[in-house]
């Protein structure tokens, strides 16, 4: 019996076990649904029946959440659910041919479930394996480095109904590819050292004053540490590594100063929802420096007086979950988490890991908080900001994985040490995810201020025409700009560094990114929900050769609307790849301006195909010429 047709009783048993593990807490809805999906292969209506009864949550709410996340299925999608990563780098590495090969080999149509309910093959957004693509996910687990041989072996395993646990372990091996370590990636600090340094650090304003302030603010007392740590973070001039670059010290201070209502606590959230196409450095940091990241979160908790922490791990990195939980368990054993950490009275803090389920928009901090609360990942209206009204309306800081790792180092070595690295406006180092057309893809850590040209030389890129820095929502850098530097004063970045050599068609790069934004729009606001679809249709129209100057004007109009009217950064930046490539690679577009005058987006002759088939006609009158605009 396949799991797809388990009867209600078995489903109810699974649901009850999962719900009990999450203490019947409806704010854990996403985690509960994710685990039900893992056990049942999908979320059957019987599971929703049971969830409704045991959690006391209306069905609409459950289906609303389940319907939002791409990795949760309200329809059966097979016992093996294969999703090919569809980043531009995967495409450049030949993912499409491999997907067709797998579909052909399994006798299925892309996007459909096989008739026996065994398998489905579809696509998903970038899975963060760009340095070792093409990649896919099978039932949520990553398989990188796809080749024809590997695809054939996967087809064989699926046809043989071999359980995933019995697949060759090397299929699931993910390489770290650390090409240039610096202070973060090369850190050899023993767990707890940064916390011990923080505890010992004397505050600027004097121990007594600091203790008085901590006491007034209800923070751990008896030591000058918390405020001193905050001072070091500020002195380090640390700015957020998620892309926006907000000053970390100010964010922490605002959260620390936010009043707590009765029963509330402060919250520390680590944003490991690394969804920007082309970026994978958080995956590597979590693989090799998990202790440093958790230590940074604990330092933050100590500094702001937070008692609860979350790491929000993107669903694509589900394979890291058990390892990360093991690190957390070890840290609890060592009294680096839990009550009275390192014997500091009142320093209580622990971390839970929540796993996402395929929604890029949850990388936006307020959407991430919604998702942590078990809801649809829709960005909130701001103000109020999370530092005062975050997780369950409590003061919350959300920082990137790399930011927390850097914070731990600052606690250990001091703000001055950190500020001495990098440039005046961009202190410290930046980890870059380098992929695309280069010999040595992987992660590179540089002090801020490194030039694009230097990175290209180090990774072995030749004949480069463009680099997409910080993914589709970042900027596209052309050859005449390669002397520009990575830093908040010039090219800010969340980490992606995708290289395109002269063989690549920059229009297709932009088109791939536009498809990405269309797929990931949350649908909340009109301009982004409809506008990203309209933009996708226009790019597809150009691709099909039906583009004219009219469509160019339309693209520009949509760009403006999305930037001006959208609810969040996703909509604001959805046009960046198009605007940038139009400005810098105009010939790639002009080649596609095949028509002089307006031409329909759809093929009129094909629109008669069904009628031809039904009538059996194929005379001249049963056809329509497709060109109307006149070739340009």
């Amino acid at each position: 019996m396949g799991l797809n047709d388990m009867h209600a009783e078995a489903v109810a048993g699974i649901v009850d076990r999962v719900v009990a593990r999450y203490r019947r807490d409806p704010t854990c809805m996403l985690q509960i649904l994710r685990e039900v999906q893992e056990a049942c292969d999908w979320i059957p209506p019987e599971a929703i029946d049971r969830l409704q009864a045991t959690l006391g949550v209306p069905r609409t709410k459950i289906e609303g959440v389940a319907g939002f996340y791409a990795f949760l299925d309200l329809q059966p999608r097979g016992r093996y659910r294969v999703l090919f990563s569809d980043n531009i780098t995967d495409r450049m590495q030949g993912s499409k041919a491999l997907m067709d090969r797998l579909c052909h080999s399994l006798w299925i149509e892309r996007g459909k479930v096989s008739e026996d309910g065994l398998v489905s093959v579809a696509q998903t957004a970038c899975t963060g394996m760009c340095d070792q693509g093409p990649a896919l996910l099978v039932n949520g687990l990553a398989i990188p480095a796809l080749s024809e041989q590997r695809i054939d072996a996967i087809a064989e395993l699926i046809r043989g109904k071999v359980p995933l646990g019995d697949w060759p372990p090397e299929f699931f091996r993910v390489e770290d590819h650390i090409r240039r370590p610096d202070v973060l990636l090369g850190c050899t600090m023993a767990p707890g050292d940064a916390l011990r340094a923080a505890r010992a650090r004397a505050p600027d304003e004097g121990l007594m004053a600091s203790n008085m302030r901590s006491w007034r603010e209800g923070l751990p007392t008896g030591l000058g540490g918390p405020i001193a740590v905050l001072d070091e973070i500020k002195r380090a001039n640390l700015r957020g590594r998620g892309g926006a670059g907000f000053t970390t010290g100010l964010k922490w201070e605002a959260c620390r100063n936010a009043p707590l209502k009765a029963g509330q606590q402060r919250i520390v959230v680590c944003n490991a929802d690394e969804g920007e196409p082309g970026t994978f450095k958080d995956r590597v940091l979590l693989s090799v420096q998990a202790d440093l990241v958790f230590e940074g979160m604990t330092v933050a908790a100590y500094a702001i007086g937070a008692t609860r922490g979350f790491l929000y791990l993107r669903g694509e990195y589900r394979y890291l979950l058990d390892r990360l939980n093991a690190v957390l368990a070890r840290r609890r054993q060592a009294n680096l988490l839990g009550a009275n950490i390192l014997g500091i009275h009142g320093a209580d803090f622990d971390i839970e890991i929540h796993v996402g389920a395929g929604a890029y928009v949850c990388g936006e901090e307020s959407a991430l908080i919604e998702s942590l609360e078990g809801k649809r990942g829709t960005p909130r209206n701001r103000p109020p900001f999370p530092v005062t009204n975050g997780y369950l309306d409590q003061p919350t800081i959300v920082n990137n994985v790399e930011t927390f790792a850097a914070a731990a180092l600052i606690a250990l070595n001091g703000g001055d040490w950190y500020a001495a690295m990098g440039t005046r406006h961009s202190a410290g180092t930046k980890v870059l995810s380098v992929a695309g057309d280069c010999v040595r893809p992987g992660v590179y850590e540089y002090p801020f201020g490194v030039s694009v040209r230097q990175v290209l030389a180090d990774c072995g890129a030749t004949d480069t025409q463009a680099v997409q820095v910080s993914g589709p929502s970042g900027i596209c850098v052309a050859e005449n700009e390669f002397d520009r530097i990575i830093g908040f004063e010039d090219i800010p970045t969340a980490g992606a560094f995708t290289v395109f050599d002269r063989r690549r068609d920059m229009f297709q790069v932009a088109r791939n990114y536009v498809h990405f934004f269309q797929h990931e729009s949350c649908g909340f606001c009109t301009p982004c929900r409809v506008g990203t679809s309209l933009l996708r249709n226009l790019m597809d129209k150009l691709h099909k050769g039906a583009g004219s100057p009219y469509d160019f004007a339309e693209i520009e109009k949509l760009n403006h609307l999305l930037q001006a009217m959208s609810h969040c950064g996703l909509g604001h930046t959805a046009c960046n790849p198009v605007l940038d490539t139009i400005a810098k690679f105009r010939p790639a577009y002009e080649r596609r301006m095949m028509q002089r005058d307006f031409t329909p987006a759809f093929d009129l002759d094909r629109a008669l195909a069904e009628a031809r088939q039904m009538t059996g006609r194929d005379d001249a009158g049963a056809h329509l010429s497709t060109e109307t605009g006149g070739q340009a």
Binding site: F598, L604, A611, R612, M614
Partner: protein
């Protein structure tokens, strides 16, 4: 309104009901004033069958339901300096477009095969008949349209307002009372 040479106006109904044309006649006695400034080319009002190559204004009622609609629309676009979409069907497909969520084979099956009372149950395949498109489209999806007069149908007053605005060289505008989609 300044009169120099009379403007040539062509009109047609594609996948429409001629309701907009009926409404055109509701301009009533103002038609005489209008005729001081325009002359009709191809139109149901003249029974001229082809559009002259030097038309000033083309007025299209109805959306695109079949191949012939496409030919006529292209002909109008080619020969008219200004193209006006009139009525709900030309502007968003209207009533005929409400078949768009059904597949064409389903519709043809239902109409010619499975409906009760059919004698031979064959789908007509005479080459004289235009083939239906798989979906009904408003005309701006196939050619560029210069102006729109919404309504189902727009009132005679609305049509009068747009035409007189155009004749006077103004941007056509419909205020409250004239602007309606039903």
């Amino acid at each position: 309104m300044t009169t120099t040479k009379k403007l040539k106006v062509a009109t047609t109904s594609l996948a429409g009901c001629f309701g907009c044309h009926m409404s055109f006649l509701d301009i009533d006695e103002r038609l005489f004033t209008l005729l001081e400034h325009i002359e009709f080319d191809r139109s149901p009002l003249t029974d001229i069958k082809t559009v002259s190559p030097d038309c000033d204004i083309g007025i299209i009622e109805g959306g695109l339901c079949n191949a012939e609609n496409v030919h006529v629309l292209r002909d109008f676009r080619k020969n008219c300096k200004i193209l006006i979409a009139i009525g709900a069907c030309a502007i968003n497909g209207g009533l005929p477009a409400q078949r768009n969520h059904l597949s064409l084979p389903t519709i043809l099956e239902e109409v010619y095969h499975t409906s009760p009372g059919l004698s031979n149950g064959l789908i007509p395949n005479d080459p004289e008949l235009p083939l239906p498109l798989n979906q009904v489209h408003p005309i701006h999806e196939v050619v560029e349209v210069d102006y729109f007069i919404p309504g189902c149908p727009p009132s005679g007053d609305a049509i009068w307002k747009v035409l007189t605005d155009l004749l006077a060289g103004r941007k056509p505008e419909l205020g409250h009372g004239l602007m309606h989609y039903d």
